[in-house]
Structure formats: structure tokens, C-alpha cells
């Protein structure tokens, strides 16, 4: 089966591109990126602030299962053209990842389908690589934790 979400991350570059086709009109795909209650649903994050306009800002906060704040993210919107384009910065607080520049292009394919093209640029190659590896490293840790759990029961 062909993968719907594609990532192009060339080695030794400080950027990657994510593309995805949706069975949604481009207007709905765009709304999912500018309306706080909708973002909360699919991103699984709390939206503290969202000013969906040129020079507006936003703040997200995500808590873990116990209600502890796991991460805070914020940024400013540089450009916002309905159903066409969003350019914004994104920064996760208290992480070494730095700030990233995100360019979202929303493209109408048919009346009922659309494509998102997301170009993300980092401060350095190392920072981009760290972000790309994060879920990979987490998976690795989870595997180790599970191993530890299993092992401790054997004691």
C-alpha cells in the first residue's frame, strides 16, 4: 500500500518536507490549521492562544496522562492566506531543538481532495536530525523500559 504521508529528509540538510494528500476539500484542510478547537482535537494539544492572522501568535501546551505539562510550544505567524499558505515559526520551550520555520502550502486537487506541503527548516543540520530522531529514540527508550519491566518481574 502506498504511504499517504511522505517525508523527504535528505542527509546533511537542515530541513525536511512532509507531503500528504487528504480526502478533504482544501478549505476544510486549511480550517484544521487555524481553528483552536479543531487543532486541539487532532494535535492532542491544548491551545492557550491562537491568533490566526498575519503577525499573530500562538501558544500550545501538552500534558501527559497524569496531567503534568509535557511540553509548551509557541510561535508567530508571518503569513496567512486562507486555503493557500501559512508561514510561521515554531519553538518547543526548554528543548535543545531551537526555532523552526514552517511553510505550509495548501493545494486544491479536486473539489473533495487536497494536498498539504509542509517545508520545515531548522537552525542547523544537527538540530533537524535531533528532531527527526526523537520519536525513534523514544521508541528505543520505551522498548528498554518494557524490557526492564519484564526483567524486574523475573527477579
Amino acid at each position: 500500500m502506498e504511504q499517504k504521508t511522505k517525508i523527504n529528509a535528505e542527509p546533511h540538510r537542515q530541513e525536511y518536507v512532509i507531503t500528504r494528500e487528504f480526502d478533504l476539500p482544501v478549505e476544510l484542510l486549511f480550517r484544521a490549521h487555524v481553528e483552536a478547537d479543531i487543532i486541539e482535537q487532532w494535535m492532542g494539544t491544548k491551545v492557550l492562544k491562537l491568533e490566526s492572522r498575519k503577525f499573530g501568535g500562538y501558544q500550545f501546551e501538552t500534558a501527559d496522562a497524569k496531567g503534568n505539562v509535557a511540553f509548551k510550544a509557541s510561535g508567530v505567524i508571518h503569513e496567512l492566506r486562507p486555503s493557500q499558505k501559512i508561514i510561521r515559526t515554531f519553538e518547543m520551550e526548554n528543548t535543545p531543538f531551537g526555532v523552526q520555520l514552517e511553510v505550509y502550502d495548501f493545494e486544491k486537487l479536486t473539489d473533495d481532495t487536497s494536498r498539504l506541503h509542509m517545508h520545515v527548516i531548522y537552525e542547523s543540520v544537527a538540530k533537524r536530525d535531533q528532531v527527526l530522531k526523537m520519536p525513534f529514540a523514544q521508541g528505543l527508550n520505551w522498548a528498554h523500559n518494557r524490557l526492564q519491566d519484564v526483567a524486574s518481574k523475573l527477579k
Binding site: 517525508i7 482535537q41 494535535m43 523514544q138
Partner: protein, 104 residues
């Protein structure tokens, strides 16, 4: 030799994946790599030679030390490396799609 199959076997091992992670952003000596693991040094050496044979790691001599770094050309083929990241976005976007269909 089926190099491609060997590459995927090489990254199937969690310790070898962890080694690739370590050297992804900087070149390291075998000693520096081994110091990150509780595993015995000869075991790490074995992992390093498998990764080198599969051409995922490249050795280079610098003074008296041998450094290991990632062979970017082959890592690029190993899309599995960023698969968890891709999957994370894929799941988010699946959710987005399902939610927005209700707004149609």
C-alpha cells in the same frame, strides 16, 4: 551478497540502532561509543563491524584513533530510520482527516 537484506538485518537490532543514533550527528571512536552502553566492549566491537560490513558506518583514521561515522548514502536508503517520525505525522493527519469529514 544481498547487501540490502543485510542492511535491514543490521538495523533490526536495538543496540545497533542506538549506535547509529549516537554517530548520526558526530563521528565517534569505538571507545566513546562503547561508553554509552553497559554491554561488554567486545559485543559493541562486533556490532560496529557488522554495521561497517553493511556500509552503514564508515571508519576513518585520525591520528592514532579510528573514528566511526554514518554513511549518509546508505542511511538515506534506510527510510526505517525516520519511520517513527513519519508514522507520528501519518497518525496525526489521519485524525485530522477523520475529524474534518464531520464538518463536510
Amino acid at each position: 551478497m544481498n547487501l540490502r537484506r543485510d542492511v535491514f538485518q543490521a538495523i533490526a537490532d536495538p543496540t545497533r540502532r542506538a549506535i547509529l543514533l549516537l554517530v548520526a550527528s558526530q563521528s565517534l571512536t569505538a571507545g566513546a561509543i562503547a561508553s554509552n552502553f553497559d554491554t561488554a566492549r567486545p559485543t559493541i566491537s562486533k556490532h560496529l563491524s557488522i554495521l561497517t560490513e553493511c556500509e552503514l558506518l564508515v571508519q576513518h583514521q585520525q591520528g592514532r584513533e579510528i573514528y566511526y561515522h554514518i554513511n549518509a548514502k546508505n542511511m538515506k536508503e534506510v527510510a526505517d530510520f525516520i519511520e517513527p517520525f513519519r508514522k507520528m505525522w501519518d497518525e496525526r493527519f489521519n485524525k485530522l482527516e477523520a475529524i474534518m469529514k464531520k464538518y463536510k
